[in-house]
């Protein structure tokens, strides 16, 4: 557990070294309690993976010791896991290097044929551990150990919408074009349904990927 003030108005709280759905659930409950108790002083509270950040209003007057104590008290309460029944989303992905622009390099770096790399990506069912970055961006865990990789040393200025990417032990879909530092391995079918579904994915839900050819991706993308 780590609790520190990133700056005079932002408290960062890391709940655990290893994220889990229970950790996410706990953080969401802490967030709700803090907003109920101190909402008039708070600008926003954001949750990501295993951490929570409280940003206070710039002119708010508050007791830092009290806030820290409340976060610790709330985090020590036993919170049972109560995400709603998990929904399973399935998406078709083209892993062709023309779309997954980092997949060839990753294949070489990992000494793993592209087909095997794709197989390892599609054989898992992923859970949504955090939502944010952009509307519809879901952080999915956890990828096969052989897919683990770092972020790009410098983020790309523009990642195409619906790109499927990996970093560390995580994977995600970019819902819209944006800058991004993850390694791109494929692209979702570009259909209005897929674009709209990405905005509906919620915490605790599950995602599976299916591989399709470049030709199929071209013919079925809108």
């Amino acid at each position: 557990m780590k609790l520190l003030w990133r700056n005079p108005i932002t408290l960062e709280y890391d709940q655990a070294d290893v994220p889990s759905l229970r950790v996410t659930q706990n953080l969401l409950k802490i967030k709700a309690s803090l907003l109920a108790e101190l909402g008039h002083l708070i600008d926003e509270v954001l949750v990501a993976w295993n951490s929570l950040c409280i940003r206070f209003l710039p002119t708010a007057v508050f007791d830092r010791d009290y806030v820290e104590k409340r976060v610790i008290d709330l985090s020590s309460q036993d919170n049972s896991l109560d995400f709603p029944a998990s929904k399973l989303w399935q998406f078709s992905v083209c892993y062709d290097p023309r779309l997954g622009v980092d997949i060839e390099r990753l294949s070489l770096e990992k000494n793993l044929p592209i087909e095997a790399l794709v197989q390892r990506h599609i054989e898992k069912t992923y859970s949504v551990y955090a939502c944010g970055f952009l509307p519809g961006f879901a952080y999915l865990g956890f990828t096969d150990q052989q897919l683990h990789c770092s972020r790009l040393a410098s983020p790309r200025k523009r990642v195409p919408a619906l790109s499927v990417a990996i970093t560390q032990n995580q994977t995600a879909i970019y819902p819209s074009a944006s800058p991004g530092g993850w390694q791109i391995i494929g692209r979702l079918l570009d259909t209005p349904v897929n674009r709209s579904d990405l905005l509906k994915i919620g915490l605790g839900e599950q995602i599976q990927f299916q591989s399709i050819s470049y030709e199929e991706w071209r013919s079925r993308s809108g």
């Binding site: 780590k2 520190l4 003030w5 990133r6 700056n7 005079p8 932002t10 960062e12 994220p19 926003e44 509270v45 954001l46 949750v47 990501a48 993976w49 295993n50 951490s51 929570l52 950040c53 940003r55 710039p58 002119t59 955090a130 939502c131 944010g132 970055f133 952009l134 509307p135 519809g136 961006f137 952080y139 770092s150 972020r151 040393a153 410098s154 983020p155 200025k157 523009r158 970093t167 560390q168 995580q170 819209s176 074009a177 944006s178 800058p179 530092g181």
Partner: protein
């Protein structure tokens, strides 16, 4: 509608305020908050408006508009030439535009965003009335600043930031290097963030790891990528990020940076907790935020 557009050439034009209606916890960026809150607040102050009144934010603004009723206007932010029926008017002051008169605004020098306030505020209940958008923002494809818009200032822009104590404990040398370096605002910038480039002879061979798990981020946060390139997050930034955070700009510095063009030289000054509090209180009390 009190101003009817007759000629319009900015890259983007939107109505903005100081409070967002977007839910960042679901990843929606603040696209309805003024990039330069200081200039937004000045426009309202010059008109005697509440600071929460919306202003029109123009990126690289050039426009002509005819008043459909008597109206009092104030323009702040980027350096522009203003005229009413061809009579020159000073910016950073309020002035009348009689019914039927034509208000013309042309970019004139440094700066990125122009704020047009009207007495009593724009008549709308909802901000982010996006009229057009071409640079950055969540509806745009462009994330780079086209070179034709570079209006670099020769002045060195000094910005205040608070050092993240956690980062300082692990990478003190990186913080010192950052403070003692002079940086250039690169051409890569958007409402999300501004990338900085080290000037020649500045070290940028950082070996910082990115984070294992992404963390929440906020406007003003300074991310350091493994390549050593700093990215200063702007008001329309993402909500979660995976790069280490070296520190956070204070409010005024964030406003100043938003107006600085690509090619501008920037340096950073670390401030204490007390200085942050004093600066913040001064800024907010002056504008009544």
């Amino acid at each position: 509608m009190s101003l009817q557009l007759v000629e319009y050439l900015p890259e983007s034009l939107r109505l903005v305020g100081i409070k967002s209606e977007f839910d960042r916890s679901r990843g929606y960026p603040y696209s309805d908050i003024a990039m330069d809150i200081r200039s937004h607040a000045w426009a309202n102050k010059l008109l005697g408006n509440d600071v929460r009144a919306l202003t029109a934010e123009l990126l690289f603004g050039r426009l002509a508009a005819v008043a459909t009723q008597d109206i009092r206007v104030a323009c702040t932010g980027m350096d522009v030439s203003i005229s009413v029926d061809d009579q020159p008017i000073h910016s950073w002051c309020s002035f009348d535009v009689p019914k039927g008169s034509c208000l013309r605004i042309k970019p004139n020098g440094v700066g990125m965003f122009l704020y047009i306030g009207v007495e009593f505020g724009w008549n709308t209940q909802k901000s982010d009335r996006l009229i057009a958008n071409g640079l950055g923002g969540n509806k745009s494809n462009l994330v780079c600043c086209p070179p034709r818009f570079w209006r670099r200032s020769n002045k060195l822009l000094a910005l205040n930031f608070f050092v993240n104590p956690d980062f300082n404990a692990s990478y003190r040398f990186e913080v010192e290097k950052f403070i003692f370096s002079t940086w250039l605002i690169s051409e890569s910038r958007s409402r999300m963030g501004v990338r900085l480039t080290a000037l020649e002879n500045c070290h940028s061979d950082s070996k910082l790891a990115s984070l294992s798990f992404s963390i929440p981020v906020f406007p003003g946060d300074i991310q350091i990528t493994p390549s050593g390139q700093p990215i200063v997050l702007q008001r329309g930034c993402q909500t979660i990020g995976g790069y280490q955070i070296m520190g956070t700009l204070d409010e005024k510095s964030l406003s100043l940076l938003s107006q600085a063009s690509s090619g501008t030289k920037v340096c950073f000054h670390a401030i204490t907790y007390e200085e942050w509090k004093e600066n913040t209180e001064k800024f907010h009390n002056f504008f009544g935020i």
